[in-house]
Symmetry: none
Amino acid sequence: MIVDNSNGCFKYAFEMGRPSLAKPRLGSAQAKTRQQLIAAAAAVFAEVGFRAATVRAICDRAGANIAAINYHFGDKGKLYLEVLRFTQEEALEKYPTNLGLKADAPPELRLKAFIRSFLFRIFDEGPIAWHGKLMSREMIEPTAALDALVAEKIRPQAQQLSSIIRELLGPSATLRQSRLCGMSVVSQCLFYHHCRPVVSRLFPDQKFTRNDIENLAEHIASFSIAAIKQLAKNQ
Amino acid sequence: MIVDNSNGCFKYAFEMGRPSLAKPRLGSAQAKTRQQLIAAAAAVFAEVGFRAATVRAICDRAGANIAAINYHFGDKGKLYLEVLRFTQEEALEKYPTNLGLKADAPPELRLKAFIRSFLFRIFDEGPIAWHGKLMSREMIEPTAALDALVAEKIRPQAQQLSSIIRELLGPSATLRQSRLCGMSVVSQCLFYHHCRPVVSRLFPDQKFTRNDIENLAEHIASFSIAAIKQLAKNQ
Amino acid sequence: MIVDNSNGCFKYAFEMGRPSLAKPRLGSAQAKTRQQLIAAAAAVFAEVGFRAATVRAICDRAGANIAAINYHFGDKGKLYLEVLRFTQEEALEKYPTNLGLKADAPPELRLKAFIRSFLFRIFDEGPIAWHGKLMSREMIEPTAALDALVAEKIRPQAQQLSSIIRELLGPSATLRQSRLCGMSVVSQCLFYHHCRPVVSRLFPDQKFTRNDIENLAEHIASFSIAAIKQLAKNQ
Amino acid sequence: MIVDNSNGCFKYAFEMGRPSLAKPRLGSAQAKTRQQLIAAAAAVFAEVGFRAATVRAICDRAGANIAAINYHFGDKGKLYLEVLRFTQEEALEKYPTNLGLKADAPPELRLKAFIRSFLFRIFDEGPIAWHGKLMSREMIEPTAALDALVAEKIRPQAQQLSSIIRELLGPSATLRQSRLCGMSVVSQCLFYHHCRPVVSRLFPDQKFTRNDIENLAEHIASFSIAAIKQLAKNQ
DNA sequence: AATGAATGAGCCTTCATTCAT
DNA sequence: GATGAATGAAGGCTCATTCAT
């Protein structure tokens, strides 16, 4: 309710105030607490989701005071956004989409690399895995963070994939076709991650060791390349 | 994990003299309230998730008393299980997996029918769609309901798909191969549903009208059939 | 922050929900708690102001649960509005502005009655006095409640006073003149209440017993009538 | 009651080695920050009141560190006292009560001058106005500062007014009578300031430009002089 | 059988204050 | 001397659940 309409000065408190809410200064004492909060939050958010995660749980895990999130990030929501950005960057740093391949490598190899990198990224353990879980949650209840993420991180990847597929499809392929094929490729990768609970129940022997993932990558790559080349012929 | 590990509502209390906690008596006024609660809960759970759904919102939407959920189902968690069972039955009733095709139709047609049926089911509106959303949530935080669901509903579908694919792959195909191909097919269907928030942001012009879905089915079917036939040759 | 943009159903919870948030049903069990909350809140708000008043303090004083305010009134602000309305009504009921005088009594008598009633109202003790304190606070930090109060309660009183004064001023008086005279009258009454801390320090022998108030009324009435009549002559 | 009884900040801690908690050294960098803090605090306190004012808002506005208030004044409450003293001195310096009139001018003129000076003072803008707002707050929750204020500043003004009125009332007037008349005069001035929220709502066309204030002064003066002279006759 | 007023634990957030640097 | 990161108590509010009726 608006009973308290007399706070024309709160804009000061909210807009200025915290010294480094915008950018962390690396190396400072502040940055350490910030990092610990982000790491703790990533784990907690991944485990129980945004809503169910309590600031208390996060701060406890980070060894910080209950008010630390407010101080460093403004509120729980802004921390969440920060976490999403952070884990995305960690994941892409550890598993770049090209896996070290040259840009002029044959498209088949580059597609395979893309698929392997994608799978390794979402099946990693620890901090990297959190990002996958967070993204899954975003799919169900998108937050404001998703827009930024799509623009900054996901679209570039989509374009990279698209260009590989256009090479495979040949010059006469339509944009729509390459787009659909791109999604067919990505969908196969995501499936094992997203539907893991069902996959595990249907095929209890399916594990996700490094070797299993290599095999999955092999299948997805050959399945997709076969399909794409065939589609290229039929045009 | 069970639905939500953060509040002690899962006491499995088979307690006290609640009248019809076990089975609804159809036709009674009680059964009517029960049905209305399930329908309302399905909508609300699908919209905002288990945790964010409030018993008040559900009861209001159902035109029932605030205490009705505890009275009829014991607690919010048990209502959720009931909802999951209900929506899944509705969905399979409306869109059977074979879409009326004969069992001896050519495998290409049967695969296409399977894909179309799958897509229509997850892109339906209203009660049917709720099931898809609830299942997405199950993927992230599986509840006890999932085991029953996989055994009763999902495995039969998986086997049906597998048999179609084995026909396409030919007699020399391994079980592993047909399983992987099955998942490649299903994954492409699920992707558009599950990753819709990202798809919509990447390609704002992508809609999901009946016609769009037909086009998707066409792409997924031809992509998959092309891949499978090629794999069959390479064996 | 808007992370949680998925709660399209909360409008239900907020807008329906509480059964009798709009009107208390007198005599019901609910009404009793409501009344106790309002009484307790009036005392606490008057003592420490809206902001400093805590819902805990109010509920404790009312012998109610911490959540009672939310349940019965929605939030602290709505309770405040209710309190303001309630005390205003109590005050006007106990001391009606005409103090039982006939409408055709001589204007001098009616002005004196208005003044006495005004003074008695603001110098009453207990629940009636709270209203005066609350109004003083409203003067400093007006809340949304003030608009309603002016429209519903204060303007009618102002008009009543104005009509008395117009009678005293005679037919040739301007609207502006009667308005200014009205404010001169009211201001003298309010002063003793509002500036009591200063008056008490300047003139420690000034008390506010019933007799003192009668004397004040006598002075204010004769001062004002003398002035008004003189102004009437000078026109 | 002291400013605010709801947080234990009034420990009267004459503690530790803070450098200049007792007296500011003029000219030092320290004194500058002190002054900026007082000015900022005056504005913020006047705007939103003691409780709603946050130390962060004040320090931000003063361009000082969040810890500056504790450092320079001990705590928020002591800063408030400092602010009250400061603003009162500013106000009386700018608008002396006699407005430059000779002491032997006719009492009617001197009364009018008193009234005009009073009105200009309370309707001033900026730092001077803050004092009026703070005084209003003092009326509701007097602090220790009020005693000093009454003794040093208000009583002299009251006596000045009283002597003017005694001249108007004539030699046979009682002390009580002149006192009451004095309060009648002052009350009319204060009313427009103190009840401005109600006045503005009742009469939206009432503004408080310099010209409006002159008109108000004219009315209050003639109203009061008419009354006083009449009372003088009736003795 | 069904209601709805009442409960109390718990959540996020705010804020004056402190203390190591 | 001055800073600002960190603190912890406390506030308003929400919500599933209970229980007297």
